[in-house]
Amino acid sequence: MITRNFTIRKSDIINRRMFIIGAAKLIIFGGLIARLFSLQINDNKKYLTLSDKNRIREWKLPPTRGNITDYFGNIIAGNLKVYQLHIIPEQVENFNYLLSRLKAILNLSIKRIEKIKKERRQLKPWESLVVSENLSWDQFLKINNYLYELAGVKPVMTISRNYPFSDIYTHVLGYVSQPSEDDILANEIIKEKFVPGIKVGKLGLEKTLENDLIGVNDIQRYEVNAYGKRINQLEYQKGKQGTKIRITLDTEVQKLSAELLEGKAGSISVMDIYTGEVIAMYSSPSYNPNSFLFGISTDEWQLIRNNPLKPLINKTLSGLYSPGSTIKPIVALSALENGIIDTKFKVQCKGKIELYEQTFHCWKEKGHGYVSLNNAMKQSCDTYFYEVARKLGVDKLKITAEKFGLGKKVLGEYFENEKAGQFPDTKWKINNLGKGWVLGETLITGIGQGYIQTTPIQLCLMTAQIANGGYKIQPKILTDDNELTSEQVKKAMLDSKINDSYEPLYDDQKNIKIVQEAMFSSTNEIMGTSYKSRIDDPKYQFAGKTGTAQVKRISKRERELDLKTFQIPYEERDHALYVAYGPYSNPRYAVSIIVEHGGSGSSAAAPMATKLFKLIVDRHQYRKKLSDYKEFSI
């Protein structure tokens, strides 16, 4: 009985205590359910977002760059499908065997194989490894034939920049290549859109217009696992191709420029004298921008870099030259405007003058005799311009020269490498060289030698502004649908009542006319320096001024020897220059030509103008048609 009582008492204790913890259990389970409720019901949205953030990863793809077209809509920088070869390392059974197979199929170099092996070590096994960025169609076909035995190899079709006209636009467009760290740091937009494989502009318009051209990335959304491996694609968001850009250049004229300068160092620029549109702008020699797309080979790069004709320099914008006699129209205009001379003013040329204990030579040893302005321009008499410059003074000359665009950048906002050149005056010399101006320097400035430095595009603008009757124009390289056509601008300039928007660069328009006539004589009258290059057909007839810029001072001995151009070492030969505008009866276009170390302007540069004007004038009707259509459609 005792045992039984005892047992009952014991079980009472056990049961009572069980009841206490049973109650505790219920409370604790209640707590757990409350916690579940708060996580799963209250904060469900928050955790759903976090879960999506966990599992969804975005991959940006390189955006498609906007096309660049010439004035007529021909694509000059486009996009091309390229075939690439990728390897997904985790799908490869025997990596070394695969490489040896690929080496045989694609003729890969041992260096390249080593590089691929190195790259592989830096990648995650599921990230694709680019073996070849640009396969030829034949290689692509070959790979596709062998594909069944090449596990892990993935032929990929992608888009790459392409310059169909190869080297003729290089100095205008620049080129694209992989962005450097500096490129990314300097441009927020590149930084935002950067993905491996993106190409950005390195030079020229490709660089300046980067933000318009770059486009919007395609975005792939993938579900990924905890290790970042893509499991499946959820969405493909198409990006946007960059803005299409139409420039003012005419490929035909550009092509001819390249042809004319083939094998020479130099530049040709052509400009619409009313709208300021650049029709052609070619710097010779050029190089192929397509070589830079997938990284240029060292050999090719050395070849370009070490070329003595300096293909890397955009001579049109950053080449600094003494203008030589091409400055004479401005000297004449300045003297006329300042009332120093009139058309009747004459100077006797004896072949040289002695002034300030120095001898100043005219190019013609025998001298020109008594010459007036028209004659002096026609024959490019240096003695006449020494005298005019002496009477005028360099400071007044500079004012006129600057009005016509010398010493200032012409397309500066689009080309980082453009140079401003310089037009010296007395103040400039004191400030920069610390010495006082010597009168003799005024004389040589009057024939475009000495401290004066100009770029070919400046000379072209200068000529254009003389040709249009002395109105300031704003040079352009991009088309703008909202601007006036050449015809409209011309009308506005001629109608003096409404021409407020066009700033005249003259005091008396008669003076401009005088200079124009002098330039006409220079090309179209016997004894004119470019008479041989004239075109008699009024449809093409042009007016111009030759220039021969000395590269080094001619010594007395050399003067006596009177060497022919080919007898002088290349680096010491004169630069040949020519500026012109036409057609004379109804001017439209201005041209500036420079041939480095080409000899005299009349023999090396002026003949190119003949061919150019024929083409430019013929092309005018097409250009006009296009701008008229635009006018009509507005």
Binding site: I14, I21, K25, L32, Q40, N54
Partner: protein, 374 residues
């Protein structure tokens, strides 16, 4: 043969089958089937290694449970000390020859199963202390010697398990043991004072913890302090749970687990996967199922005539409750991460073996509930 007859009651085999507790049995079966489906989901919806292995173990251990239940409860009473001793020996053996995995030496290789004796000790301690308190008279319960012996029984395995090191399991063993002390009638004030002492000594305990254990506690207090390192598990677990929402993402559609964001999804974090796929509804349902099991075990305990059976049932019910609470609190971010599996659901043979043995003995208590033990 005599021996056999003495230990078994006079019920026939068919009577025993009839006396099995079918409510408990059904619940265990539902839980088992559920666990196989969840394991199938952790394998990414394929019938792979974990699922196969889990299923095999379930079948074997379920049969073992039934077998155990046919033995008289008196037999288990007699075996208690012996089993406790065997497990202690196993623990010692493991501490010398055991397999070392990621810094702790807990396993012995039985070829078909990597046995973790500390898991078995969770049951062993209940068996042993149930027998001890069955034998101690009410008057002597609070005597110094009896408490001393009881504490020694608890401390020996705890020291062995802590030295593996395995803090989580040792805490569970300690709690399972202490609950029998509580049920056995040890004075409340002792518990109270011990608890106070524990609180006071807590700083010293913490300073003696292993670096990884300290890290776990720090991480628990602020999981975001190192989201990719130590805090990763708990953050990902919360994301999985939270994103499950009311009704879950659907079977085999738990992105967190499918995409490998969940750590230890087969074992300790299995509830997270379950909850991600079946949501709040599923989780509460699972908790209800466990509650039914616990209540049924308590009920079986309360109809048992012997104190041993009663103590064991109550103790085991409490132990299961503790396992669930610790596991859920851990995955819900309420407790630091200590390794503690969810009974039956988690992958892991030893834990399942121990739980099934426990169920078996409970079932035996039910079948033989009229059995008195002198």
């Amino acid at each position: 043969m005599y021996h056999y007859k003495r230990l078994n009651s006079d019920q026939s085999f068919f009577q025993k089958i009839k006396n099995l507790d079918y409510i408990l049995l059904t619940c265990i079966l539902i839980l088992s089937i559920l666990s196989v489906f969840i394991m199938y989901s952790t394998d990414g919806g394929e019938f792979l290694y974990h699922t196969k292995s889990h299923l095999t173990k379930l079948v074997v251990f379920f049969v073992l449970m039934l077998t155990i239940s046919f033995f008289n409860i008196k037999f288990w009473y007699f075996c208690s000390y012996f089993l406790y001793g065997v497990i202690i020996l196993l623990l010692i053996w493991v501490s010398i020859y055991g397999i070392k995995v990621s810094g702790s030496q807990r396993w012995m290789n039985l070829y078909f199963l990597a046995l973790q004796p500390s898991e078995l000790m969770k049951i062993g301690i209940i068996l042993c202390l149930a027998k001890y308190y069955h034998r101690v008279s009410v008057e002597k319960v609070n005597s110094f010697t009896s408490i001393f012996f009881a504490l020694t029984i608890i401390l020996i395995p705890i020291i062995l398990v802590i030295s593996q090191p395995d803090l989580g399991t040792s805490i569970l063993i300690a709690l399972s043991g202490l609950i029998i002390l509580w049920l056995g009638g040890v004075k409340i004030k002792y518990f109270f004072f011990s608890f106070i002492t524990f609180l006071i000594s807590l700083p010293f305990i913490i300073s003696n913890l292993q670096p990884y254990q300290k890290l776990r506690i720090l991480t628990f207090l602020d999981p975001d302090r190192d989201p990719l390192g130590a805090g990763y598990q708990i953050i990902q677990s919360k994301i999985a749970l939270g994103s499950g929402g009311f009704s879950g993402k659907g079977f085999l559609k738990g992105t967190q687990s499918y995409l490998d964001f969940l750590p230890e999804k087969h074992t300790d974090f299995i509830f997270t996967l379950f909850s991600e796929e079946f949501g709040f509804v599923g989780s509460v349902g699972l908790l209800l199922l466990y509650t039914v099991i616990i209540l049924r075990i308590i009920q079986i305990g309360s109809i048992s005539r012997s104190s041993f059976a009663r103590l064991f049932c109550f103790g085991f019910a409490f132990a299961i409750f503790i396992y669930i609470t610790v596991n859920l609190s851990m995955v819900l971010g309420l407790l630091p991460i200590v390794g503690s599996p969810l009974p039956i659901m988690s992958y892991g043979g030893s834990s399942m073996l121990a739980t099934m043995i426990g169920f078996g003995i409970v079932m035996s208590a039910k079948v033989h509930n009229q059995q008195t033990i002198a």
